[in-house]
Amino acid sequence: MEAAIAGLVAAFFAASLYLMMSKQIIRILLGVAILGNAVNLLLFTCGRLTREVPPIIAGDAMVPDGVTANALPQALILTAIVISFSFFAFLLVLAFRAYQELGTDDTDQMRIAEPLGEAGPPTGY
């Protein structure tokens, strides 16, 4: 079970890294979105998998009855999902605005901060 999901996580990471090495902002963004899922699945599996039993205490018990899923990674991932969504939304709007201002979605052509052929620092005194 863990082995299969490790393979799936590997596929998620590979797809995300491949997309992020692109020069097109949109593909980078897609990569970022997938990276979020990849990391969440990684965390989830690190806490070991339990099929179908959520970490909820039954109405008549004080502690969970029997083996339940690990609650801790779920809590961490819940935070991570929300944060990565905010991050993704912000990057998306940033990319959109950059495209509006600069007229390109190619990161190599966004050169206001680092112009090509920029002169080096002064060599005199």
Binding site: L17, I26, P55, V82, V93, T107
Partner: protein
């Protein structure tokens, strides 16, 4: 001798800095009077140190100190023996007149207050340097002299030559300072103490240590840069860009002698070895000859003096390097004499420049009637420099010849040659501007104000009086310092009139004879040396420029290489390094996880895994925007289902919402972007990126597999399971963790979401209002021929 009675030394060490603090204000309030008033500070310190002469000459060194950072062995401690006392007297004594002189010399300069401040700061640094007992303190003062020297050389910062000279001095002496720091740390490591006074008691410990060579080299690195030994001498003549009071004070009388001070200070524990007695005389001797030869070549009064300063420093290093008692006494005498006559001559050069408007020796002459007092002072100083009686310089030369005769005839020849040329330069500076027919000078020359000639006159008088009262000078100053440098008590009286006809006297006569002869042909000599230097064409000074240019060019190229301004390069670098840190240790240490034998998934789990994979492939291969967006949604929903299947309904629910929102927003934005849908990477690049990506995926997959194959620690989970209901009164453990156990974390999360929302709002709102201003020329048009722009 440690006593509360000497606590005033702390005040004396701090006083110049305090004076520097109020100097600009005082200058604004009092105008020309400020120089005279500020001179009282060094004068008071001078008088204070005079009161120590009886105790120190009786062989009682004074130490005072308080713990500063005891954990690091750092004490604020001062140590006064014969060596530091004479230095302290020179620094404060000459400093008094330099401050007065600066008052006259820079009169009317807009930044005169700042100048006082700098020069007093330097005085404090230099004084602290020679007094410091703690090695770390010594290093701090050493660096302070470099920094204040930088400020003073670059004082006239609107001129490029000044800036260059200041930077050069800072780089050369700063590099030496770093070397010295390594040296003092090594000394502290070997001897186990950071107090110089204790180190001096360790006898042969440093000399017999395995670390002797590194200590020797690092200390030499500090000393040779500061004291401008060949081939690191070039910064000193360039430092003549500074106003003359600075040249007179820092670059002849005091700061450049810090290196000599360091060598003299460590002579008892580092000196006397074959290495010491070979390297020091070698570099010192070469510096002496090169310095004097280059001095003869110059026509600028200050540059002539500057090169003879280089030469004198070489002579001092050479003498210290002999580790011979009499030669060291000669070095001490010469150091004392040199500070007096060189300080005086520099101030004379400044007076001539100030009053006549030029320092070029070819444009000066016949000033003796216009400036009689200055001429008198110059003459006295030059006689001392040439080593003629009845000046202290004569006694110094007698003693150093006497010492060198015992050591090596080669060094005697070097010393005679150097002194002959020194004789020539000394009289060229002192006689040429004043004798002969009156020459028309840029300014109508007349005697300067008292503040300008007081310094040369007093120093000239000291040159004469210390020689006439040489018995007192010897007992009070020279013998105690010689003992401190030699490391053992020394005896011996000094006499102005030689007591017997020996080698020393003969050598002096030879020096004078050759000196007179050389003075008569000085113009021929000058042009010969000039031709020689021009023929060589390259020197360390130009080398420094090349070094700086090379460093800047190299740094520029390295920056370009590391930061080409291309996002994909940065990302690829980061990813490759991450993958390497994941995979290489696993491979290198053979900790790869064991491979699973079969896949134990239920059919519905397997189906969802497949859907997720299909979604990923579809995103990668998508040819239109819409397919890409939808495919992204597919893998997201598949993840949500996986959460559901493995007991995480909360996650699943959140993931569904987030993925839906992402797809909606993405669709909204993407439809407004007129972007190319295809991947533009050429096939080769795709293969490279693909390989890296697959390796990265494998890295994370293997990491996860390794993690799941080690025993699991349920401690935290058990805690939350046990206390979710009993403490926090919630049955959904995940929710309890979020809102209770880690409530503050969730608050942070909410803050992040809120700030992101605000930022997005801001980004959308500024649209169209404040466009990014790009000046057309600056906007680098993507050049089709530029190989750096890919497709």
């Amino acid at each position: 001798m440690t006593s509360d009675a000497h606590d005033w030394i702390f005040l004396a060490a701090a006083a110049p800095f305090l004076a520097a603090l109020v100097a600009p204000l005082l200058h604004r309030l009092l105008g020309p009077l400020a120089g005279w008033l500020l001179a009282l500070v060094p004068l008071a310190i001078f008088v204070g140190f005079c009161s120590l002469i009886p105790a120190v000459s009786a062989g009682n060194a004074v130490t005072v100190g308080i713990d500063w950072m005891p954990a690091y062995g750092f004490r604020l401690s001062y140590f006064i023996d014969g060596l530091s006392l004479l230095f302290a007297l020179l620094i404060t004594g000459i400093g008094t007149f330099i401050v007065i002189y600066a008052g006259g010399y820079l009169k009317g300069h807009a930044q005169q207050g700042r100048f006082y401040s700098y020069i007093l700061m330097f005085m404090g640094a230099m004084l602290g340097l020679v007094l410091a007992d703690n090695l770390i303190l010594l290093f701090i003062y050493w660096e302070l002299t470099s920094i204040t020297s930088f400020l003073l050389i670059g004082f006239d910062h609107t001129r490029r030559a000044s800036r260059r000279a200041a930077l050069q001095a800072l780089l050369v002496t700063g590099a030496g300072g770093l070397s010295l720091m390594a040296g003092v740390l090594l000394i502290a490591a070997v001897t186990g103490t950071k107090e110089m006074s204790q180190v001096l008691l360790t006898g042969d410990m440093l000399r017999s240590s395995a670390l002797y060579l590194p200590i020797f080299l690092t200390v030499l690195g500090g000393a040779f840069t500061k004291s401008a030994q060949f081939p690191l001498h070039f910064w000193l003549p360039n430092a003549m860009e500074a106003p003359t009071p600075v040249s007179a004070y820092l670059h002849s009388a005091t700061m450049v002698k810090a290196g000599v001070y360091l060598l003299m200070r460590t002579q008892p524990v580092l000196g006397g070895t074959d290495l010491w007695m070979t390297v020091l005389p070698l570099f010192g001797g070469v510096t002496l000859l090169v310095g004097t030869l280059l001095a003869v070549r110059q026509t600028d009064l200050k540059l002539m003096l500057a090169y003879t300063t280089v030469a004198s420093l070489g002579l001092l290093v050479m003498l210290t390097g002999t580790s011979n008692e009499i030669a060291i006494k000669g070095a001490v005498l010469y150091l004392f004499a040199h500070s007096l006559f060189k300080g005086a001559l520099f101030m004379v050069a400044g007076c001539v420049d100030h009053e006549a408007g030029t320092r070029d020796i070819r444009k000066l002459g016949g000033l003796r009637q216009a400036m009689p007092i200055t001429f008198g002072a110059a003459l006295v100083a030059a006689i001392s420099m040439a080593g003629l009686p009845p000046m202290i310089g004569f006694i110094a030369k007698e003693v150093l010849y006497e010492g060198l005769v015992d050591v090596s005839w080669l060094l005697v020849i070097v010393a005679v040659a150097g002194n002959v040329l020194m004789f020539v330069v000394g009289f060229s500076v002192a006689l040429k501007p004043f004798l002969g027919p009156q020459v028309h000078t840029p300014k109508h020359a007349h005697e300067g104000p008292v503040s300008l000639w007081l310094g040369p006159v007093v120093l000239g008088a000291a040159t004469l009086l210390t020689a006439l009262a040489v018995g007192w000078t010897g007992d009070a100053l020279i013998v105690p310092m010689t003992a401190a440098v030699y490391g053992q008590p020394v005896t011996g009286e000094l006499h102005l009139i030689p007591q017997y006809v020996g080698w020393a006297l003969l050598l002096s006569l030879v020096t004078i004879g050759l000196g007179v002869a050389a003075y008569r042909v000085v113009d021929v000599l000058r042009s010969r040396i000039d031709h020689l230097v021009s023929a060589i064409g390259w020197g360390p000074d130009r080398g420094f420029d090349q070094f700086v240019a090379l460093t800047v060019a190299g740094a520029t190229r390295l920056t370009r290489l590391l930061q080409p301004g291309r996002l994909e390069v940065y990302l690829t670098t980061v990813i490759v390094l991450t993958v390497a840190t994941l995979l290489l240790p696993m491979i290198a240490y053979g900790t790869l996880p064991s491979m699973p034998t079969g896949i134990d998934l239920t059919y519905y789990e397997g189906t969802i895994f497949l859907i997720a994979l299909l979604g990923l492939v579809a995103v990668l291969r998508a040819r239109t925007r819409l397919i890409a967006i939808v495919s992204l949604g597919i893998q997201g929903f598949a993840v949500a289902l996986i959460f559901m299947l493995f007991g995480a309904p909360d996650l699943s629910f959140t993931q569904f919402m987030v993925e839906t929102l992402s797809v909606v927003i993405l669709a909204l934005v993407m439809t407004r972007l007129n972007v190319a849908e295809r991947d533009h990477r050429p096939t080769r690049q795709r293969l490279i990126d693909g390989t890296i990506a697959v390796a990265g995926g494998a890295g994370f997959g293997l990491l996860l597999l390794s993690v799941t194959q080690v025993p699991f620690n349920r401690k935290l989970t058990d805690f939350f399971d046990a206390y979710s209901l009993t403490i926090a009164h919630g049955r959904n453990i995940v929710n309890v963790i979020i809102v209770d156990f880690r409530g503050l974390d969730t608050l942070g999360e909410i803050t992040v979401v809120m700030i992101t929302g605000l930022a997005i709002l801001a980004l959308v709102r500024i649209s169209g209002r404040a466009r990014i201003a790009v000046v057309p020329e600056e906007r680098a048009a993507p050049d089709a021929t530029d190989p750096r722009v890919r497709s």
